[in-house]
């Protein structure tokens, strides 16, 4: 019973912390309208990474600590779009479309590996994610791209670590259909794109295939005995997560303005996982609502805490707070999972 009461407690704590930050920000005379529209952009640009976790969690493959696999597919898609000098919304959509088949192939092999380490997917995914980055580093240096804007300025071969999108599709979604409500700028284009992805996920989990995926995630033996293909469905979940992560990086990059190669993809897994856990997911089953709530709470806290902490406390405090919250929440979720497990055994 006490477990039930505790559920939602983290959300309440974080929610109140967020309120506190808003109050302090107001007291420090920050521009609230700017902060709120900023929080909306942060929410949508990071949100798809969080949505991308859902298929894998629901298929019982665990938290996608190896999202760098999918993100790499997205980076490749964007590199192709830049290579062909596609600009504006066309460039963005081309990047997304090119990334999808690459992500499917990556996801297939990623899923095959995860099927072999059943029960230890989380830890295996962390190492796959780590191992994949140096592998791709090699690719980035030798890939035969020829657009000068992507290559190292000196020497002229190998992709540069940070490719500017200024001439291609920077902020195409951020600045699509921006409508001012009062003093707050609402980026409808970006939110619309996010909403479409979210709706596709919601709809997918209403279909027969989606329902089977959820059942396999929660009741593997039951489904095995019912004759459902466990491994193929798990791979499907991994592929979906990988594809969504690829789309996620495209959205992120257009907002951020740069394509970050090399070590870049490794930086997204932990914050996304933290966000969905903040949203109330226990790591066994996840909903789009949890992902949305979690992303907003998590991202907005950082948006607000950075300037506030830098003003009130020592500089660099923002980064420290960020690390404590991100990793602390993941640890908290693992502790909670263990508790839930004991409770199930009875």
């Amino acid at each position: 019973m006490s477990e039930q009461r505790l559920r939602g407690l983290p959300q309440i704590v974080i929610g109140s912390f967020l309120m506190l930050l808003f109050i302090i920000a107001a007291a420090l005379n920050y521009n609230m309208a700017e902060l709120i529209s900023g929080s909306l952009i942060k929410f949508a640009m990071n949100g798809i990474f969080v949505l991308a976790l859902i298929p894998m969690i629901n298929a019982g493959v665990g938290l996608n600590f190896g999202s760098s696999v999918g993100i790499t597919a997205g980076l490749m898609g964007m590199c192709m779009a830049i290579q062909f000098r596609l600009t504006g919304i066309t460039g963005f959509l081309a990047a997304v479309i090119i990334s999808i088949p690459i992500a499917i192939v990556f996801g297939f092999f990623y899923g095959r590996i995860l099927n072999r380490v059943k029960g230890k997917e989380d830890i295996a995914a962390i190492f796959i994610g780590f191992a994949f980055i140096p592998l791709m580093n090699f690719f980035w240096t030798v890939a035969p791209f020829s657009n000068r804007e992507m290559l190292y300025p000196i020497g002229g071969s190998g992709l540069r670590p940070k490719i500017s999108l200024a001439n291609y599709f920077t902020k195409v979604l951020d600045q699509l259909f921006v409508v001012k409500i009062g003093t707050i700028e609402v980026p409808w284009g970006l939110l619309f794109f996010y909403a479409v992805i979210a709706l596709i996920i919601v709809a997918f989990f209403k279909t027969k295939k989606g329902k089977a995926l959820i059942a396999i995630g929660s009741y593997e033996n039951f489904c095995k005995l019912s004759g459902l293909g466990i491994n193929s469905n798990r791979i499907l979940g991994v592929i979906l997560s990988t594809v969504l992560a690829g789309i996620g990086i495209c959205v992120y990059a257009q907002s951020y303005g740069f394509v970050e190669l090399y070590g870049g993809p490794g930086a997204f897994a932990f914050p996304a996982i933290s966000a969905i856990l903040v949203g109330g997911c226990t790591g066994k089953r996840a909903t789009v609502c949890q992902a949305m709530l979690g992303t907003y709470l998590y991202q907005t806290i950082f948006l607000l805490s950075a300037p506030i902490a830098n003003t009130l406390l020592v500089p660099q405090m923002a980064e420290i707070v960020r690390m404590i919250i991100t990793n602390g929440i993941i640890l908290y979720a693992f502790l909670n999972q263990r508790k839930a497990g004991v409770h199930d055994e009875k």
Binding site: A203, K206, T207, K208, K211, A212, A215, S218, Y219, N221, F222, K224, L225, S226, G227, L228, G229, K346
Partner: protein, 522 residues
């Protein structure tokens, strides 16, 4: 009172389910006290309380009082129990395979060189292997057993393991109470008799013994006193003179239950399922080279002692465990996968309902329709001609009808299955099988852990499916009495081999012989 152990007003709940309801018992020194009851009547729970099993403390402990020699004791864990002179012999072996016999027997009470008073020093002092070996040997000798004590437990036969287990329990200086939970379940008749003698000898030395068994004639022979448990209540107690097998059986089941009896002889001559040289490997069991033919519209019982192959046979047929040999369904060869089994019209309801038979956190409705929605494309509709989703307009009335038909007690069809009682959960399983409408249904332990009233209802449902839908049904169960009532033929397995196919009218003796593999089957 000169009772060695007194149990007063012991109660225990598992969730909302009452496992024990105010039990009073008193066992005298040197007395052999029998405890009988059907599965789920609370025998094991009582044993677990007395031996401080973790299951009890983890699910909220017990209420009531336990007194040993007029001292009230609290048993929170196994250590407390052993300290108070209680030993236990388990139904399933609780031995560590990689240890030798003498290590097993002396486990946690090893003699050490240079016995020191300081406990922390004792813990790190050298083990006196020689002394331990002689001690183990001596203990085994009292059981009439002479064996090299340095053999590893994993290499021993089932019988020997059981004796090591017993030796472990009695290898203590101040054993006051010995608990025996179905000690003879894994033994053959001969070894059972040896065990009986040992128990009697042990009792003669002044140890109180609580003996728990399904084999009623053993209880009648052995016990000075016997109590019957039914649904967690102590319903009656008899002395040695008063008890008889028939009386105990009647008391266990409760006479008010109407027993379901099926008219037989409606099977066709056509063979629907054929097993040829069929072998299965499961973690616990083996099936070795089985040949079997099941007729259409037949209800075939499958029984064996636990660990002798009835579960492996069922799981093997459906393809859950790897099998070799050939399986033909209505003349067609079936491959090794579960999906092919289901495509060919097989379906299995497993013995482990919680893990494999139900989705505990889902609704009654979803559980009933899930398999047929996913695998048979029933209850579905298309959206945009592309995506299939559940058609609630068909599902809701269908489930409503099934709930009424099978008399499933639930607050609504959206109630979570976890909240239902065992009997109703099993009914949900059967409803799921009915929705699948297979040609051959395999049901494992359909009445395990279910109260008596619901048992009859479930047997009735199985028979009804067989009659109304011409379904061929294989029922694997350890309840031979139930199999006798519903089956056309009963397959008895021993050590993974076919030991005999018996007529339901066969006598107890024939079944006992077949179960132990000693039936001559020409």
């Amino acid at each position: 009172m000169n009772d060695c152990i007194t149990i007063q007003q012991i109660s225990k709940n598992f969730g909302n389910q009452k496992a024990l309801d105010h039990i009073d018992l008193g066992i005298k020194k040197g007395e052999i006290y029998g405890l009988v009851g059907v599965n789920g009547s609370g025998k094991s729970t009582l044993m677990n309380i007395l031996f401080g099993n973790r299951v009890i403390s983890e699910s909220g402990g017990y209420t009531g009082q336990i007194r040993i020699e007029n001292r009230t004791i609290a048993i929170a864990n196994t250590k407390d129990a052993i300290k108070n002179g209680i030993g236990m012999i388990h139904q399933e072996f609780m031995l560590i395979p990689e240890l030798s016999i003498y290590e097993s027997i002396n486990l946690n009470k090893e003699k050490t060189i240079n016995q020191n008073k300081q406990s922390w020093l004792q813990k790190i002092s050298y083990l006196d292997d020689k002394e331990n070996k002689t001690l183990a040997k001596k203990t085994l000798k009292t059981l009439g057993f002479d064996i090299d004590v340095s053999l590893l437990v994993k290499n021993l036969s089932v019988n020997t393991k059981q004796f090591v287990e017993i030796a472990r329990a009695i290898n203590t200086d101040d054993l006051k109470l010995l608990l025996l939970d179905e000690p003879t379940a894994a033994l053959n008749t001969e070894d059972s008799n040896i065990l009986m003698k040992i128990i009697k000898d042990l009792a003669a030395t002044g140890v109180a013994i609580l003996f728990c068994s399904h084999r009623l004639h053993e209880v009648c022979n052995l016990c000075d006193k016997v109590s019957v448990l039914r649904d967690g209540r102590l319903v009656s107690t008899y002395g040695h003179q008063e008890m008889s097998v028939e009386l105990l059986a009647k008391e266990m089941i409760g006479s008010e239950v109407d027993q379901m009896i099926r008219e037989k002889g409606c099977t066709s001559e056509e063979t629907i399922l054929t097993l040829q040289d069929f072998s299965v490997k499961s973690p616990e069991e083996r099936i070795r080279g089985l040949n079997l033919a099941v007729k259409k519209k037949e209800i075939m019982g499958i029984t064996s002692l636990s660990g002798h192959g009835k579960a492996a046979l069922c799981y093997g047929i459906i393809g859950y465990y790897p099998m070799t040999g050939e399986v033909f369904v209505a003349g067609e060869k079936k491959n090794n996968t579960i999906s092919d089994s289901i495509a060919k019209g097989l379906f299995l309801l497993p013995d482990d309902r919680k893990e494999m038979g139900l989705m505990m956190e889902e609704s009654v409705e979803y559980n009933i329709v899930f398999s047929s929605f996913q695998l048979k494309d029933k209850f579905k509709k298309k959206i945009l001609k592309l995506f299939s989703v559940e058609n609630m307009k068909i599902i809701e009335p269908y489930v409503k009808k099934q709930i009424a038909k099978l008399n499933i007690k639930c607050t609504s069809q959206k109630q979570k299955v976890r909240e239902l009682s065992g009997g109703n959960q099993q009914k949900v399983c059967i409803a799921r099988a009915a929705a699948m409408d297979p040609k051959i249904l395999i049901v494992m332990e359909p009445t395990r852990g279910i109260d008596i009233g619901a048992k009859e209802k479930i047997l009735e449902m199985i028979v009804k499916m067989n009659r109304d839908r011409d379904m061929t049904i294989l029922v694997a169960s350890s309840e031979i009495e139930e199999l006798k009532r519903i089956c056309d033929r009963i397959v008895v397995l021993c050590e993974g081999r076919l030991s005999g196919i018996l007529d339901p009218g066969a006598s107890e003796e024939e079944f006992a012989l077949a179960l132990t593999g000693e039936l001559n089957n020409e």
